[in-house]
Symmetry: none
Subunit: 414 residues, 2 copies
């Protein structure tokens, strides 16, 4: 079967916003064996929305709308789909009560405009939204003689994802002919994209039945494999063969085989080793701690740390000798090591990490340019320091630095 | 005038890639006074491309295609546009010679498939591509009685941008009626989307010439205004009138009038007041420090802080009395205040912030549910604590908590 995704919202037609919901939805649909053949973005304009819905109903078997379900006058998805299908909207008293209750539970009075979120396409199933006010809607049946599935989802990504998982995935699976698609992802730390491709292209080019895609981020590369087979086992065998060969080639630069993030892998190894971690960050400014604590349950192995932006604080919170900073400069191998050792001691952690560098765009010098970062890892077997010159802007340099530090912890423990 | 952008390529229909060319093109078009009314992504499929081109020709005055101009069998944009317009493609001998020369200059022999890149729509102007093999194409004239401009651009972003700037911008400016578009953005902290809309809709609805768009994030709302006028001054006056009226209505919840982020505004006020800031974070895990230090130059006012995930570290780094944690729990009004006061004292900062809460998804209890966060701000005039129950997942709760803390600092200083 095929599908198309229509993102609704004038803000998605500005230079500032891009539709990311469709990436998630495409992944989910592909896993069900559904191909996405068309994506579009339409503004908050009833006539254009109706036309877009009509084209979609003609062209595609599954049509997913994201956005335009809110309480404002600009939220027109319900009205547009009703008009395109030539069916009425009915205000659902149960949904209305649920919306009123949602407001009451927060001690707020519901303003009148919210009531339109209870307008349901005739014949549609209401999909409860655990994370927001507007419910989703599901409608399936014949449209001008062709079987169609029409799904309305809220635009905020966390609402859309939770609602798709809870209410749409299994409903779709029941409607879609069983397809056997196997996927696998390898994640690789701290190697360059062209370096990785040069090493693995001779391998993946031998397997024409497996689609291989390389995606590069700052310090992390993902290699995606996808194959469709007569059976799931056959598809999986094809994917595994190429993935295993590539994993052999890249060795311990591969940190994940099952989609886990670098943060999650570091958490896994810390728990496996019964170890704890503390960090002292200068140029990364809290990003490393933020990444580690983005994992639920990280309090089991992450003690905490210090963001030591000023030099006195490097001394006060992480015990870096003031004369060392004066002698070598705050961005130096010595201070990175002292940050790692000091925070480890201070927090009584198994491992201590120190990061100091020049994130830019200002602050660079001839000898210490923007992008220069020192990463240190202290343990009971001593302290290791890695110096790197990262390319890119402030955001990218900070991202690289945090990935490098996470990868040092991973390699220490694995 | 209006425009639409069609990105061509099956890789843009995978879960991994998103069309970013359209953001650049939208910005360029808006600056010329052209509104983008529709964007779509179509795979490398002739029939679907033809249908998409036909819809576009019916709907929009300017149609820009990006991608699908390469030498492979999958590169079908030229063929699809020719078919949609009912005109032939002609192989241009001059373009062919230029392509052959490009190969020869690199010492390569041109393979036969490259010749199709010299196929030009009858009547089109060839747009030389300084950075690649396939030239762009420009065609303008009547299509079924309506004036249309059709532009074909290569997909690689560096080729597309250079070609648009060198060959399309001035050509478009000459075709487009001089239009003057003014925009403005207000950013609002810590109010709900429907609450904001209920308050401001009666105002913006009075101004039909100004387009108002509301965008909601966790703890931050953006209200975008756009207007088109006979002169830039007229457009700006219209935008300013509605924006000023809405700013009056929302009062000090408006933190930015010129696109600056909450982090930048907090930095601005800290510098204005000659003040410094230190933070002690528990549930936000470094996100607040990361946001503050994402601003270049933040070392002028941000001293640093502590991520005190474990209870002993709350005592060790931020001086929270151990018996206070035992008596009230780590997630409490008292501990938030002690974190703010302790880190302020420890870092010798003008202001200290403390955050403690339950980010979830685990760790919630009946009395201290997931989403409960205490935010404290300590200064020489005492300590203020705000308790909030945030909705959403771990990521969203942490984002809300950091926005709340930033907003407390802003309100204290402004």
């Amino acid at each position: 079967m095929n599908a198309e995704i229509i993102a609704v919202g004038s803000e998605l037609l500005t230079p500032f916003r891009t539709d990311t919901n469709s990436l998630y939805l495409t992944d989910q649909l592909n896993q069900l064996g559904v191909e996405v053949i068309f994506k579009s973005v339409v503004g908050d304009d009833l006539k254009r929305l109706v036309a877009a819905a009509q084209h979609a109903l003609f062209r595609s078997e599954i049509i997913i709308f994201s956005g335009g379900l809110g309480p404002t006058e600009d939220d027109l998805t319900r009205e547009a789909v009703a008009e395109a299908l030539g069916i009425p909207l009915r205000r659902d008293p149960e949904v209305l009560t649920a919306i009123e209750r949602r407001f009451a539970s927060r001690g707020w009075k519901m303003s009148a405009n919210n009531a339109k979120q209870a307008d349901i396409l005739e014949g549609a199933t209401v999909l409860p939204n655990a994370n927001g006010t507007a419910p989703g809607q599901w409608l399936s049946g014949k449209v001008e003689g062709r079987e169609r599935i029409i799904i309305l989802l809220p635009g905020p990504p966390h609402e859309l994802k939770a609602l798709f998982e809870a209410e749409c995935r299994e409903r779709l699976r029941a409607k879609v002919p069983p397809a056997h698609i196997a996927t696998r992802t390898l994640k690789v730390a701290m190697l360059g994209e062209s370096h990785v491709d040069a090493r693995i292209a001779p391998i993946y080019k031998r397997y024409s039945s497996v689609q291989t895609t390389i995606l590069a981020g700052a310090g992390e590369i993902e290699v995606h494999f996808k194959s469709r087979g007569e059976t799931l086992d056959a598809a999986q065998a094809a994917v595994d063969e190429v993935a295993d060969a590539i994993e052999d080639e890249l060795g311990d630069a591969v940190y994940s085989r099952d989609g886990q993030s670098l943060e999650q892998i570091v958490g896994y190894w810390l728990q496996m080793r019964g170890a704890t971690l503390a960090v002292a960050e200068s140029c990364s400014g809290g990003l490393l701690a933020e990444r580690i604590t983005s994992v639920s349950g990280s309090s089991r192995y992450f003690v905490g740390g210090a963001v030591v932006y000023s030099n006195p604080l490097k001394t006060e919170l992480a015990g870096v000798p003031a004369d060392m900073i004066e002698r070598h400069g705050a961005v130096s191998r010595e201070v990175a090591a002292a940050l790692a050792e000091g925070i480890r001691y201070r927090c009584e952690a198994t491992l201590g990490v120190g990061i100091t560098g020049v994130a830019g765009p200002t602050g660079g010098t001839a000898t210490k340019p923007v992008g220069l970062v020192y990463h240190a890892l202290a343990s009971d077997s001593g302290t290791e320091v890695i110096e790197r010159n990262f390319p890119g802007d402030r955001k990218r340099i900070r991202r690289f630095a945090s990935a490098m530090a996470l990868d040092m912890v991973r390699k220490k423990l694995m």
